[in-house]
Symmetry: C2
Subunit: 367 residues, 2 copies
Amino acid sequence: MGTFPFHRHAAMPRTTPHRATILQVAREAGVSKTSVSRYFSDERARLSRDMQSRIASAARRLSYHPNQMARGLKGGRSQLIGMLVADIRNPFSVAVMHGVEQACRERGFSLLVCNTDNDPAQEREHLALLASYRVEGLVINAAGQPSRELRALAAQGTPLVLLDRMLSDFEADVVGLDNTQTIDMALDHLRQQGYDNVLYLSEPVAQASSRQARLKHFEQRLADDPTLRGEAHSLALAEDNRLQDVIAGFLSQASGSAPAILCGNGNVTLAVAHALQARGARLGEIGLLGIDELEWCNLVGPGITTLAQPTDAIGRAAVHNLLQRLEEPQRQAPPKRTHYQARLILRGSTCRPNTPDQYDSVSQERP
Amino acid sequence: MGTFPFHRHAAMPRTTPHRATILQVAREAGVSKTSVSRYFSDERARLSRDMQSRIASAARRLSYHPNQMARGLKGGRSQLIGMLVADIRNPFSVAVMHGVEQACRERGFSLLVCNTDNDPAQEREHLALLASYRVEGLVINAAGQPSRELRALAAQGTPLVLLDRMLSDFEADVVGLDNTQTIDMALDHLRQQGYDNVLYLSEPVAQASSRQARLKHFEQRLADDPTLRGEAHSLALAEDNRLQDVIAGFLSQASGSAPAILCGNGNVTLAVAHALQARGARLGEIGLLGIDELEWCNLVGPGITTLAQPTDAIGRAAVHNLLQRLEEPQRQAPPKRTHYQARLILRGSTCRPNTPDQYDSVSQERP
DNA sequence: AACTAGGATGGGAACGTTCCCATTTCATCG
DNA sequence: CGATGAAATGGGAACGTTCCCATCCTAGTT
């Protein structure tokens, strides 16, 4: 068994549920409450060494932590950043959240995560709640129309940043993938690998979001490139039959071509992988390319080719943006767009079986 | 394009960054601040209909939201629940977090998530911060020794609940899997499928945690069952070579037996799946069973058999526990243990190739 | 008509801290 | 020694709300 510096026996007695206040620390240290306040803020250097020592000692004895509620009240700062997430279980959201949370912590903020489960009523509720906590900034990773509550937050001066989402009549900073470059990279890669018939699948396209931008660019590429054909669909993934029908319909008219499926995000990749498996389809023979890297992609069949987003960097950039606006509240800079490039991770799902010289993935297990 | 009830043009002017106070609403509605306060608390029914209507109208006009900081100060309630997570990207943590967040929201609390990245210094920092926000309860999903900060929180009366973790000298409520039943179920299943040599792999075992309980029971089963042999290892997954060496060593002495690998959690399952793939091993020939269900498990080879945890229910039970203690602060009930049963999801990875009558997974793609 | 009880409404004090202005202390210089 | 300026220290008011006690009004009962 390990040893602890503060070992106590199993029936550890509980002291009274009491939290020390600044007045108590002041009394214990024989100083004024103002000095204690100074010690715990950014004015510690203005105190003498002796006083610092006495305060530190008293605070430790009393297990004192400043009450952030009281600080927020008088000081006007909550030290909270809100993050609105459409689905907390979405790997992309989680990965970005990780970057957001780290960037917040490094700058002394706490992250208040609100999960909407793609429900507008929950979103409104959460926004009201974030407003009541006086969050100092808000990262939004949710689709859908901007609600009245969101507009009110913006109107009250709360800095906002949208992840992977742009709204035509709502000015806010945006951080995300370069959608044009992403679709270009995907289609260039598929074309290079010999695929000439592409099905693009995405989750429902909200108004003026990046999903729509991707879709639009995909369709433009189809129109511009006579060697490429295909189709695009957006669908709610809960409707299992719909996805199967769309894929079946696409493949039924794909004879004489080299078909591939381009998935708009990780959720779609997962669903399509399941659907193709159910059909007994061989990855590569039917190309599969997913936007977003997932930890299991190289375990499935010959490996699934992906376009990876730098999710940590995206999360950090979002916080950086918010804090910049916080630091310069009088400067109403125009909305800022920060776009990142996707990175291609080549695996067997975009290598056609009759072109083995293009196949360089690792060896695969054979069940 | 959709239509909004509050459409504004793209250059929407920003009003001053001003938040309405209860005094302003009171003045606007021609009532006292006490009445406004009553309206936004649980005493709304004590107001006349006329007054309610006037207050509602004034609050809407001013976009008023109560200041939770001020409420927390006088009322003594933060309405916050903290959750300490060792790795926010761990699928188990995320899934449980979803249940926690939902249960909190349903009861009017907000969840403050703190990610420690398995770093004790970060944990201490987060705990201090949670203390400063006066969180009303804390869900802990992190391994490691209980720190002084954690003990101080408990001493101050903050209800705590541990997920999947028990500490011998620290009394707290615990919610998680029934570790004995889980190991029994796993070993019974493997034995039934014809495997007689089991390698149990887990992430590093903290003192008196459920990881240790599982390990202990695994070893006890080995000792009790003469038809079963095997070995157990705990290792940090960042050390890639170590895992490969352990698996190689296990398999090198497995001739004449039917070997299987039991993974202690989802992270281990993923790592082992990669390692087995790298070896060109066939799942089933070498059995693979993972504790925890992952969304991609049925995509890999013949499908990976798992023991699924009811993560949502675990998260909800944790919050239920905290709130019970909050509602009865004077009742120092003994620590409560809530244990759930795992559910076996049979797939091809625990079906030996020479026993095809036991193989009932769906057909597999062939690269 | 007088009294009583309940419902509705309101004002002042307090919550724990920060901020602002005031005071005290100390060191240096003339 | 006295004056000056800087550093160190401290007290009161304010932050936005809740809570507690007080007051007023109305309806019912005697």
